[in-house]
């Protein structure tokens, strides 16, 4: 775990990921909030630079203020108190199908260089080496939200050249316009936030490149932990560390470090 100078601003990799993810949320966005870290990222953003953002939860909820208490799942009772709408999942999905969801978050077990996610099968689906839980709402978010971000632990076995099974399509085969040609409504992935750095994508899709490296890590270190020959931005920078305000918010919403401490 990373350790910076002052203990006040020491933080875990997950806390950094949450802070970085929160910065992807623009003020006024309707955010399709997934489980775990994205719930914290939404809470951090809503209390900082995005006071007019709203969160949509596939369980069937819309909120403005983050829940007042810790959430183990998006369906926990504190997430319903103060909700702006408690409804059916298909109605939440309908808003996304209409293009009203500006940003979505998806967890990925395996991510490839084109931002495709596999959360279904490692190996042959007929007799998988590993059976992963599945799409949940991931495929829906990947296809229908205007833009999305995934967060993953940076390991060679997770960041692979090509996923063997595309559960949630990113930029497909990486050719420009693949999503448009395939009929996908949304714009696809804009960032892969990992425990080591942040990867981004060209405007018209294609291949991920390293945009910033987290404090305490090197470009080479990141490339060594990546399952393909990772491109690096000419202006690759160091990821700005979480501010004290961001850390305070994260620890307010995850007091026991349930999501943000190993």
């Amino acid at each position: 775990m990373t350790s910076a100078a002052s203990p006040a601003s020491s933080y875990s990799p997950q806390e950094l990921m949450v802070a970085v993810a929160s910065r992807e949320i623009r003020d006024g966005d309707l955010v399709f909030v997934g489980m775990r870290l994205p719930i914290l990222a939404y809470a951090v953003a809503r209390n900082a630079h995005a006071p007019n953002a709203r969160g949509l939860f596939e369980v069937g909820l819309m909120r403005d203020q983050p829940a007042a208490a810790f959430l183990g799942t998006m369906g926990d009772p504190p997430n319903v108190v103060g909700a702006l709408w408690a409804t059916r999942m298909s109605n939440a999905m309908a808003l996304m199908a209409q293009g009203h969801v500006d940003l979505g978050f998806i967890g990925g077990a395996e991510v490839d260089r084109f931002g495709n996610l596999n959360t279904s099968y490692v190996g042959d689906p007929a007799r998988p080496k590993v059976k992963l839980p599945g799409s949940g709402g991931g495929a829906d978010i990947a296809i229908l939200s205007r833009r999305w971000v995934t967060m993953v632990s940076h390991e060679r076995r997770r960041l692979v050249e090509r996923v063997s099974f595309i559960t949630s399509p990113g930029h497909g085969d990486g050719t420009p316009g693949w999503r448009r040609r395939t009929g996908l409504l949304g714009g696809g992935p804009v960032a892969i936030i990992t425990t080591l750095g942040v990867m981004r994508f060209p405007e018209d899709g294609g291949e991920a490149y390293l945009a910033s490296v987290h404090p305490g890590h090197s470009v080479e270190g990141v490339r060594n932990q990546t399952g393909w020959d990772l491109k690096v931005a000419g202006d690759v920078s160091e990821t700005s560390a979480p501010t004290d305000a961001e850390l305070a918010a994260i620890r307010h919403f995850d007091p026991q470090g349930f999501w943000t401490r190993d």
Partner: protein
């Protein structure tokens, strides 16, 4: 509950559960199926938290038609893995869906049409592994899924089957309407004057409901708005113990097979730590007519 499962959930039945997603999961009903050693069930649901994993481990399941099977706060479903990877305790067929597509599959059955079109799942390999999903003309046609029985746990219901549920509803409505029959378990069995005071909150027509079971705590460890918080520790403990087949079997004996009924199960839970004590009554709606 024993009678309801005995009578309405035969071997080979297609059973929808966990239709409100993370809350209101009918664990008591599922555990009764395991005690009665139901076999060859097809389980239908978007996200079942650990309920489907438990029934798969108990050997009750032939097929899962779902968007996600695991443990929402803890991750992988270990019984699900063993069944898919090593056919332990028996082989399992999987019909992968996304959350949106499983909802549409239930709406198709509700409206009695063969399929409904959608723009989701285009570009996903789920189309390759699930024969119920057909891509045509730039749309995906989601085949109808009609459960033999949908089981829900709700906050309150009357003996005539009028169920009031609140909080996020997931796919509860379409799962109930699509099903041949519905089993309701509830925290509170109330007088009809309570349910009929708010007919908009009644989830399904009573003509679908074949059994109402008064089963306080019937959704534990999942949350019930106004009654119970989610028991995160219990989920974590299940995830740890189910990591090995032996661990799972011990867990199943302790919490299901060797437990006669739900009351006994709840007597072993520290309910004080999860019971909701701060009440937030909704402002009434005036149904006056004269």
């Amino acid at each position: 509950m024993a009678q309801a499962i005995e009578r309405f959930v035969p071997d080979g039945a297609t059973v929808a559960m966990g239709v409100a997603l993370e809350p209101l999961i009918p664990f008591a009903a599922g555990h009764e199926m395991a005690r009665r050693q139901r076999r060859d069930l097809e389980l239908v649901g978007p996200i079942s938290d650990s309920l489907f994993d438990q029934l798969i481990g108990a050997g009750c399941v032939r097929r899962v038609t779902a968007a996600w099977v695991g443990n929402v706060s803890e991750g992988l479903g270990h019984c699900y893995r063993r069944a898919c990877e090593n056919a332990v305790p028996r082989p399992l067929e999987v019909r992968d869906h996304s959350n949106f597509s499983i909802s549409l599959a239930l709406w198709a059955a509700t409206w009695n049409v063969p399929s409904l079109p959608t723009r989701t799942l285009l570009g996903s390999d789920i189309l390759r592994t699930n024969p119920d999903l057909i891509a045509r003309d730039g749309l995906v046609h989601v085949g109808a899924v009609r459960p033999d029985v949908t089981i829900v746990h709700v906050q309150r219901a009357d003996e005539n089957g009028r169920a009031h549920a609140w909080g996020p509803l997931g796919v509860s409505e379409e799962a109930g309407l699509a099903a041949e029959r519905v089993i309701v378990s509830c925290e509170e069995l109330v007088d009809a004057s309570v349910t009929l005071s708010d007919p908009n909150r009644i989830l399904f027509p009573e003509t679908k409901v074949v059994a109402v079971v008064h089963e306080p705590g019937g959704a534990h460890p999942s949350p019930v708005q106004g009654f119970f918080k989610r028991d995160h520790a219990f989920h974590r403990e299940y995830a740890a113990e189910s990591r090995s087949r032996e661990g799972f079997e011990a867990w199943l004996r302790r919490w299901v097979l060797d437990v006669p009924d739900r009351a006994t199960y709840m007597s072993r839970i520290d309910t004080e730590s999860i019971r909701i004590k701060r009440h937030r009554p909704s402002v009434p709606a005036d149904f006056g007519d004269e």
